[in-house]
């Protein structure tokens, strides 16, 4: 059954070329043994080795690629039920539902607008679920082609029969659309997907998915995505949990695929909340019909959070960041190097248009109060950071007055003594910084 790292190592070329993205063959073998990589991610592995390793070397949950190029969506290959056991690896796709009868220019503009910068990352709707509302396969192909070329985003094609999917599947197979025949896949779709080498959705309850994936695999379909269909949010969540458990705990490969779900609620608020749930609990793709930012953003932010590696603090470099070209009379803002904290502060400083410096103290990527409570953001650490950075040398005599977050006002006295300089206590929330820098700071250095 399961191969050890050493078993796998013996099957590799042992050249340590690094093409697999891991420095050595042994390290790569360990990853395969831990089911974090597939053997065929080594481009040099021989066919004999692959056969020898057989299915045992494959991660239990298939990695499925939808779309092509930079924006291809890779889902699946998850290794744990709970993020604290390791981490979740492949952020799920958030797909917007579009009909091929819609005004496509307008819809594509909507998709483009659902992109936000948050904590230094872009979070966006990254998939389009294109429904054949026209009932015309040619029309679906035309719309899908435009979306692929103009948005470069992966597409899920939805229709009620295989023949409606055929033109797009055959004509656009390079763009690797995911084929979703409602209630499918029928034999015709399986054949189509096998010959076009495209991923397909297998829709139905557990028993049907179990049977259908085996049938499709037998017919030559490699990449599949499960879907529970239109069932209640509770049943959807349970489907997501059971398929993931069967895959990871039992290595049950017929259910070893990522899952596509749609948030079906008609009420936009409830649809958005459903989306958040599914993102947290194991969805591979979440299809939304709501398309205004107020409903989509919580789902995107939920995804950004749950896929953070809990082992690696999300942090920025600890240093002096220069904002809006500061001079020797510009304020010095002190904060931590937790990304969330830094970017909250940065956003406000940028918006204030006041040239400033932000000193990020190395708190191992923790927030202001977390760091303060853990003794990483006290007077000593702040003093050290100020001295090491040499930032006072860039400031005029009367301007060496660091501004500290209002939440740690209690340290101001001690910090003043340590630094032998005046210390200014800023507002508690970064949102107060704009007003503070524009109105109060000038008076304080006046």
């Amino acid at each position: 059954m399961a191969l050890t790292g050493l078993d796998i190592y013996k099957l590799l070329p042992r050249t340590n070329c690094g093409d697999c993205g891991v420095p050595t063959c042994l390290a790569f073998a360990m990853k395969v043994a831990a089911k974090q990589a597939a053997l065929d991610e080594c481009p040099h592995v021989s066919e004999e080795s692959q056969e020898a390793a057989g299915a045992a070397s494959q991660p239990p949950q298939k990695l499925v690629t939808i779309g092509s190029g930079d924006r291809a969506l890779k889902i699946g290959n998850e290794t744990v039920m709970f993020r604290h056991d390791e981490r979740f690896h492949h952020p799920c796709g958030i797909a917007l539902l579009v009909n091929d009868t819609d005004d496509l220019d307008a819809r594509m503009e909507t998709v483009r607008s659902l992109s936000f910068e948050r904590i230094g990352q872009i979070i966006d709707v990254d998939t389009v679920a294109l429904n054949c509302a026209s009932g015309d396969g040619e029309k679906l192909q035309e719309a899908a082609g435009r979306i692929q070329t103009e948005l470069s985003l992966p597409v899920v094609l939805i229709a009620d029969s295989a023949d409606k999917l055929r033109p797009a599947a055959e004509g656009l197979s390079d763009g690797r659309p995911l084929l979703w025949e409602r209630g499918g896949p029928s034999d015709a779709l399986v054949e189509l997907a096998a010959s076009a080498k495209l991923p397909v959705v297998v829709e139905g309850d557990l028993e049907k998915c179990d049977a259908d994936t085996q049938k499709a695999k037998g017919a030559g379909v490699e990449e599949m995505v499960l879907c529970p269909g239109e069932v209640s949010p509770l049943e959807t969540l349970q489907f997501l949990t059971v398929t993931r458990r069967a895959t990871l705990r039992r290595t049950y490969r017929p259910l070893g695929y990522p899952v596509l779900v749609r948030a079906w609620a008609q009420d936009p608020v409830q649809q958005s909340l459903e989306g958040c749930h599914y993102v947290d609990k194991y969805a591979g793709i979440v299809v939304l019909e709501v398309d205004s930012p107020e409903y989509v953003l919580p789902v995107l932010v939920t995804r950004q959070g749950i896929y953070i590696d809990p082992q690696v603090p999300v942090q920025v470099e600890a240093k002096v960041h220069e904002i809006n070209n500061p001079t020797e009379t510009s304020p010095l803002i002190v904060t931590t190097n937790f990304s969330l904290t830094y970017y909250s502060v940065l956003g406000e400083v940028e918006a204030s248009r006041v040239p400033a410096r932000i000193l990020t103290v190395d708190t191992k990527g923790t927030s202001v109060l977390t760091a303060w409570a853990a003794d990483e953001f006290g007077p000593e650490q702040i003093k050290d950071a100020i001295e090491k950075s040499g930032v006072f040398d860039q400031l005029g005599e009367g301007y060496r007055k660091p501004i500290i977050p209002g939440l740690v006002a209690v340290i101001s006295g001690e910090l003043r003594e340590e630094l032998e300089q005046e210390v200014i206590v800023g507002p508690k929330e970064a949102s107060g910084l704009g007003r503070f820098l524009n109105n109060e700071w000038p008076k304080l250095v006046g």
Binding site: A246, L273, C276, E294
Partner: protein
């Protein structure tokens, strides 16, 4: 090959904790609320029991709501100067409980005396039939002066009082014992700290079954995921049989929403985020349902609209008992 049976049986159970007492039980509440009792991870009714739905409390604050964000103030603004009206309105808004925050006892916020705070508690109890949570001012000395008077004032009502912290639990524990109330044990974002605190509370006579735990919390996108994981890990330990983690979880999340720009920035500052009157309640509801997914069962919220949204989501999600 049949689909494998992946049901899991756990040895541990989350304690069921009841808050409130009706007249038969020696109190004056028109109903009681029970949380906890689950025998599995959230909402997996194919393998576990979910006897009680998560419950939702609305915050009523003795310091008023002037510093609340605009969308929460929009609802509570007209009653925020009158605790009794405010509490009564919570019932109309669909809250399962009222959570009275005693912020005005804070020296910076008026320093209301223990007697005045006790009177606040009494008045709120008189204004609503809902079970009551009472939350101190989060300053140790203040809480130690104020809370014992309040537990007394609410004797017989089986309230939930908070918070007991590792550095400050004795006074509140003693007064909850004396006046038969449930207690919130607060330990920031760490399972071992929680367990430690539950041991300490046990040592002074608090039955672990009378504890609801508060791991502290952050809003969606603002520290939430760390606490989500803390709660989830704690719940797995509880179900695995760790009696020190078998307490239901409360999250006092209303005030955290106000810190999130996406939830509170005016439309003109942030047109790219969409309509504020939708964003604000939805952000709070999304925070609640996220924590529910991790295992929390009691939510203290500020925005009545968000409470209704979260309750509707629970209707669709929570297994029928």
């Amino acid at each position: 090959m049949p689909v494998p049976d992946v049901k899991e049986k756990f040895s541990g159970v989350v304690h069921a904790v009841t808050i409130g007492a009706t007249s038969e039980q020696g109190g004056s509440r028109t109903r009681t609320v029970t949380i906890g009792g689950e025998t599995g991870l959230p909402m997996l009714s194919f393998e576990a029991e979910y006897p009680h739905r998560p419950a939702f409390a609305l915050e009523v604050n003795t310091a008023g709501a002037d510093d609340w964000h605009s969308q929460a103030r929009k609802h509570v603004g007209e009653v925020a100067a009158d605790l009794e009206k405010w509490a009564a309105r919570c019932e109309e808004w669909g809250a399962d409980l009222v959570c009275l925050h005693l912020d005005a006892a804070h020296p910076d916020l008026g320093g209301r005396s223990p007697e005045e705070c006790a009177d606040d508690v009494k008045r709120v109890l008189g204004a609503t039939g809902l079970p009551l949570i009472v939350w101190g001012a989060d300053v140790d000395e203040v809480d130690n002066n104020v809370l014992p008077k309040c537990t007394q004032a609410a004797a017989g009502e089986n309230c939930l009082f908070g918070t007991a912290k590792e550095a400050n639990y004795r006074t509140l524990a003693a007064s909850c014992l004396a006046d038969s109330h449930k207690i919130i044990a607060e330990a920031p974002s760490d399972i071992n700290l929680s367990k430690q605190l539950h041991i300490l509370l046990g040592d002074v006579g608090v039955n672990v079954q009378n504890i609801v735990m508060h791991p502290t919390c952050g809003a969606l996108g603002f520290g939430m995921v760390y606490i989500y994981t803390t709660i989830e890990r704690g719940r797995i330990a509880a179900l695995g049989g760790d009696v020190l983690m078998q307490q239901p979880v409360v999250v006092n999340m209303g005030k955290e929403i106000g810190r999130v720009k996406e939830a509170t920035s005016p439309d003109e500052d942030a047109p790219q985020w969409g309509k504020l009157d939708v964003r604000a309640p939805l952000w709070e509801a999304a925070t609640a349902v996220g924590y529910m997914e991790a295992g929390a069962e009691l939510f203290i919220m500020r925005n009545p609209e968000a409470l209704q949204q979260a309750k509707t989501a629970v209707e669709a999600l929570w297994p029928k008992a």
